[in-house]
């Protein structure tokens, strides 16, 4: 069991690791930031905002203004979001086959557009392979370029 977990972490992209690391220091700060942190305070907080702000929010970049106010709200919001993992990393796929149109179908919209990583959780490496596969499948009429409705 532990072995599996370990493996997962190693095989995953840096992005997910960074996210867990970023999440770690933020949760204690929510309660205990203003207590006692004389020298370590300012730089840490800055880092936290940079990582926690635009990156985690996803699509809307500027919903909350800068300041200490939303700092309390943000960490709580994280717990509700289910962390997405790359489906290809989980299944340890090294080659995305363009011939498996049914697999590729789940990564395109109804009209044939490729779904962004933001929505599918695919890692950057696999997204690149996936796009190649989708383009090949389109070329041989397994997937649509644009579906007429």
């Amino acid at each position: 069991m532990t072995e599996r977990n370990d493996e997962n972490i190693q095989s995953q992209p840096e992005e997910s690791a960074a996210e867990t690391v970023a999440a770690a220091p933020e949760s204690p700060r929510a309660e205990g930031a203003p207590t006692a942190r004389p020298e370590g305070g300012p730089p840490r907080r800055e880092g936290g905002f940079r990582q926690g702000g635009p990156r985690r929010e996803g699509a809307p970049r500027r919903d909350a203004g800068p300041g200490g106010g939303p700092g309390g709200r943000r960490p709580r919001k994280q717990y509700f979001r289910k962390r997405k993992v790359c489906r290809f990393c989980v299944e340890r796929i090294d080659y995305i086959d363009y011939k498996k149109a049914d697999v590729l179908q789940s990564f395109v919209q109804d009209r044939g557009k490729v779904l962004p990583r933001r929505l599918t959780g695919t890692c950057s490496q696999h997204q690149r392979w996936l796009i190649t596969a989708i383009k090949r499948a389109r070329n041989i009429a397994l997937l649509p370029f644009a579906q007429e409705l």
Binding site: D6, I9, R83, Y95, I140
Partner: protein
């Protein structure tokens, strides 16, 4: 020059009789052999719906060939034959050896890492911590 592998897919008109398709496959196999290549695999996928209209057809007979060759001329010749064949409405050739090589490399890497793991398992406390967090997040 290194040996190369290719995927070749072509689509025939839906009304094409079975023998015509077989004849086409035989022609291509022969042409490939003439140019010093071999056909490793032939798969007839049968009639499938096309994702978009091709030559006014909504479906087509898919045939997949896996090729092995050493000269690019073989592909030129095969594509020329596919282009002039009346029954074929679409075709595509893809070079696959580089991707297969990459796949083997990654698989080998992973195996080696898996073999090395038991020794490494005890020391990393940081990895355990992140693992626990991942569990909590899920």
């Amino acid at each position: 020059m290194d040996a190369r592998t290719y995927d070749l897919i072509f689509i025939c008109r839906p009304a094409t009789p079975e023998e015509e398709v077989d004849k086409m496959i035989a022609t291509l196999t022969h042409a490939a052999q003439e140019k010093g290549g071999t056909v490793e695999k032939v798969e007839k996928w049968g009639t499938r719906k096309l994702a978009y209209k091709v030559a006014k057809h909504r479906e087509g007979i898919y045939v997949y060939l896996a090729l092995h060759g050493t000269q690019g001329e073989m592909i030129h010749e095969l594509e020329r034959r596919l282009k002039v064949a009346d029954v074929v409405i679409k075709y595509m050739t893809i070079r696959t050896d580089e991707e297969l090589k990459r796949q083997r490399k990654l698989a080998g890497k992973r195996e080696r890492r898996a073999a090395r793991r038991p020794r490494k398992q005890a020391p990393p406390p940081a990895a355990d911590q992140t693992a626990a967090e991942m569990g909590a997040a899920d």
